[in-house]
C-alpha cells in the first residue's frame, strides 16, 4: 500500500486519505516499513493523533483512552505536586520523563511499562472505533511523555487484535464506550479484599458511566476496566443498564452484536443520555476530575457502600 507522503516539514502540504474501516492498521504497517516520522491524524470516533518516529509509535493522543498524564496522576502513582514541579522544570524542552524519574516520582522501568500499555490501550480505542480519515503530517510535534524508543506498529496491532479477540470471547460482553454499568444493590461483599478495585468501580457504577468513563476517573486502561466490568457482571455485582447511541465502530460493535444478549441497554437507546466527558487543557476531563475521585474515595472511607450479602 502506498502511503500518501506530505512535503517536508514547513512546506504546508499535508496529505490525507480516506482509509475506510479497517484501513488504519495496514496504513500503520506501511508507515513503519517506510520509517516515517511525524503525526498521523485520525479523524472519526473517537479519533486521535499518533506520534511517529522512524516508523515507530511513540505516543497516541485520543479521547478514547486516558493519556499517560491521566494514568499517572489519577492512579496516584505520581502526586500532583511532584508532577507540577517536574512539568515546570522540564516539559518545555521535552525532558518530562527523565525529570519524573530524576525526582524519584516513578521508576524508569515502571514508566516505560505504563507508556507501552498506554499506547496499546489508545491504539485499541482507535482501531475499535470508526476511522473516517487519516492525515499524515511530516512535522515534529513532540508529545509530553513519548515512549523512547517507540513501539513497533505491528507489535501494537497484534496486541490490539488479541484484545478484540478477548472481548469477543467474554461471557458477558461489555462495550467499552457504549455500555453503562449499574451496581447491583446488596450484591457486593469485600471478600476479595482491598486493592482489587471492585469497591471503586461499584462506587462509580451509577448507570451513567461506561468502562471508558471509569478508566478516565480511575487512571486505568480502558481495556483493563472493561475486562473487570465483565467479570463483575459475571459475578452479579453489575448489570449493563443502558447504552450510548451507536456510533459506527466496526470492531467492538461487531464483537458485542454477535454475542451479547438483547438487554435493557439496547431497548433504552440513548434518549436523555448525558454527554461523555470532554478533554480539557491540562490533561483533565470533565468526567474525571480529581475532586470526583476524591469524593469516591471519601465515600469508601466513610463506609457508604452496598450492604454486604452476608457471604
Amino acid at each position: 500500500m502506498d502511503i500518501p507522503r506530505s512535503e517536508p516539514a514547513g512546506a504546508g502540504d499535508d496529505s490525507s486519505v480516506p482509509p475506510g474501516p479497517g484501513q488504519l492498521e495496514p496504513m500503520l504497517v506501511s508507515i513503519a516499513r517506510l520509517g516515517t516520522s511525524g503525526l498521523l491524524r485520525v479523524t472519526g470516533e473517537p479519533g486521535g493523533v499518533i506520534h511517529l518516529a522512524d516508523g515507530r509509535i511513540t505516543a497516541i493522543s485520543t479521547p478514547g483512552a486516558p493519556d499517560p498524564e491521566a494514568i499517572l496522576l489519577r492512579s496516584d502513582r505520581v502526586p500532583e505536586g511532584g508532577w507540577s514541579s517536574a512539568f515546570a522544570a522540564a516539559a518545555s524542552d521535552g525532558r518530562m520523563a527523565a525529570e519524573l524519574v530524576k525526582r524519584d516520582l516513578i521508576g524508569a522501568g515502571e514508566l516505560e511499562a505504563l507508556l507501552r500499555t498506554g499506547l496499546a490501550d489508545a491504539l485499541f480505542a482507535l482501531v475499535a472505533g470508526s476511522v473516517q480519515e487519516c492525515r499524515l503530517e511530516e512535522v515534529a510535534t513532540p508529545a509530553l511523555l513519548p515512549l523512547d524508543p517507540g513501539a513497533e506498529a505491528e507489535w501494537l496491532l497484534a496486541e490490539v487484535e488479541r484484545r478484540l479477540g478477548v472481548l469477543a470471547g467474554l461471557r458477558t460482553p461489555v462495550s467499552p464506550d457504549r455500555d453503562r454499568l449499574t451496581a447491583v444493590q446488596g450484591a457486593w461483599t469485600p471478600r476479595v479484599g482491598p486493592g482489587d478495585g471492585q469497591a471503586e468501580i461499584l462506587a462509580l457504577a451509577n448507570g451513567r458511566r461506561t468502562a471508558r468513563d471509569m478508566a478516565f476517573v480511575l487512571g486505568r486502561g480502558v481495556f483493563a476496566v472493561t475486562l473487570q466490568l465483565s467479570r463483575m457482571c459475571d459475578a452479579g455485582l453489575l448489570v449493563i443498564g443502558s447504552s450510548r447511541s451507536a456510533v459506527r465502530a466496526a470492531g467492538l460493535r461487531a464483537v458485542s452484536a454477535e454475542t451479547a444478549p438483547p438487554g435493557p441497554a439496547d431497548a433504552a437507546g440513548s434518549g436523555g443520555a448525558p454527554p461523555l466527558p470532554r478533554r480539557r487543557r491540562g490533561g483533565g476531563q470533565a468526567g474525571a476530575r480529581p475532586a470526583e475521585k476524591a469524593s469516591v474515595l471519601r465515600m469508601l472511607r466513610t463506609g457508604v457502600r452496598r450492604e454486604p450479602s452476608g457471604g
Partner: protein, 122 residues
Amino acid sequence: MSGLSESLHRILEIDGARTVTLVDVGTGMIVDSVGEEPAGLPAAAASLADEARMASAAAGPERSGGDLEEMLVVTPDRVHLLKVLSRTQDEGFMLFVDVDRARTNAALAAMRVAQFAPAVLR
C-alpha cells in the same frame, strides 16, 4: 535497547532461563519480552495473568498469608516462575520466567529472580 529490555536481559542470564517476560496483570498484555519467543506466548501470558489474579483473590493483606508475591509451576522439563512486581486495584505488572529445569535448581532460580526483580520497574 530500552531500559526495560536491559533489565529483563539481566534476568535472562540466570542459568537455564529461556524467556523473560513482563506481563500486565490487568490485561494479560506482554509489555516486553526477551529470549526465546515460543508460539503461543501471548496466550500463555494472558492465561498466567488470569491465574495470578485468581491466586491474589485467595491472598491479600487481610489474609494471614498476606499478598501474593510469586508462583512456581514445575513440570518435568520446565520451571515457570511468576513474580508480582507491582499491584494496584485490579492491575499491576508481573514477571514470567521460563526456566529449563535440567539446567537449574528451581529454588535457586526463584531466589535469583527475586534478587533481580526489584530493579525491573526502577
